[in-house]
């Protein structure tokens, strides 16, 4: 973690999906950066995302298999309804059921060490 991103993981530890917001022009941005590329303000805060979005793109990772992950691993790029995009995992979904444009919802996954990771599931699925 560094000074520019630790806050996002702290929000995740509180079960929240954070989005950085420029206080100069109120533009949302992700991944976080120390300065706004539009108005150059260094001032920002964070808003909590609704966690709702749709699948912009995805890939199914099958090989090589690294320890600590369950394969096949469905990775998604999610267009959040707030307008920013986030890279994450799609859980509880068979690889053949993932598709472009499907609605998804964020949930927090906790690994054995207690580290919390915002991931997604298909909207309405268990």
């Amino acid at each position: 973690m560094g000074l520019d991103n630790a806050w996002w993981w702290k929000m995740a530890a509180d079960d929240k999906l954070g989005i950085q917001r420029c206080l100069g022009c109120l533009t949302l941005r992700h991944p976080p950066r120390p300065m706004c590329g539009d108005c150059h303000s260094l001032e920002w805060d964070a808003v909590e995302a609704s966690g709702k979005g749709s699948i912009c793109s995805y890939t199914v990772l099958r090989h090589p298999q690294f320890p600590g992950y369950e394969y096949p691993l469905v990775i998604v790029l999610v267009d959040l309804e707030e307008g920013t995009r986030v890279t994450s995992q799609l859980v509880g979904c068979e690889p053949e059921d993932v598709d472009f444009g499907l609605q998804v919802e964020m949930l927090i996954q906790r690994d054995p060490d207690g580290f919390k990771l915002p991931v997604f599931k298909l909207a309405g699925s268990a």
Partner: protein, 390 residues
Amino acid sequence: MPISLKDEAAIAGIGLTDFSKQSGVSELSLAAQCIKSACDDAGISPGEIDGLVTYTLDSSDEVEVARAVGASDLSFFSQINYGGGAAVGTIAQAAMAVATGQASNVVCYRAMNGRSGKRMGQGVSGDISSSDLIHWSWYTPYGMLIPGSWIAMVANKYMHRYGVTREDLGRVAISQRNHALRNPRAYGYGKPLTMEQYLNSKQIAEPLCLYDFCQETDGACAILVTSAERARDLKQKPAVIRAVTQASSRGQEQMTSYYRDELISLPEMELAAKRIYDMSGLGPDDIDAACLYDAFTSEIIMQLESFGFCGAGEGKYLVREGALDVDGRLPNNTHGGLISEGYIHGMNNIAEGVRLIRCDSTSQPEKAVEHVLVSSGVGVPTGAMILGRG
């Protein structure tokens, strides 16, 4: 002082080591061998080298290399970042140095035990401190650890949007493998690839399968850049640098530029294309052959669009009509490329561009090759150049 790099510098020598999966020697040894070979090719002594350029990822520092090959005084040395995106960037540095008198004989090199040593496919790791490592921290916790996983996200979106099929990617892999069948240096030499083999191969990162990936190779490649004027007096026919540029565009990330509006084009390659066509006064119709960067097959189809050989979404048609084959509109990676010759991070694609200009490829097209387009890494800050006859 020249205000453009057009026709200022030329590639006068290329040098390569053997390619293998286990070189048994150090990367510094590979670097020294390929540089000596490039000097021999041009007919100059390594003592005449006064400039060296490599990749930030290369383990052989300039002064170590200089001592190893017996170079004397160096007046120019630099390193370019972003993996395979550095390939043409090293040539841009060398051409600028030559054109401005910073150095006379600049060698660009990349030496790697890419299979037996540090493998690119083993992913990123390390303590999170630099801005680059924080960048990777958005992906690694989710299991996106290898280049194929980063590229697959873009390839999938592009293929979905334009109806590009796995067979289209297979056609790229097979075209390059067919070139490699004639190149004794190539991994793919003597190993034909059929569409059936391609379609039945192991899925790695959907939609990409085993044969969509480049090789992992031990080997090295050096490119000697000098002034176009001097190159004409040396041993080989010069490959004159008609235009060369680096390119990175708004919102660029290293491999994961996922937050720009569309994921169905390569904005940095479009920038490179505009700049090299403007600089050279040439256009897509003037390009006779290409060595497009090919860490993954999908990148070839997208670049056909970036460099204006067809419109958006039409790259698949060029591939289907055999444009990339030796008798096609744009013979591409006639040595086999990174996919079927070996993966020397794009430097070996530059060497093939030079061979095409010299009429010296093992898959030399029958038509006259006046201009060759060479590009660097896809999905990263990159570059491109046009080589022409001297």
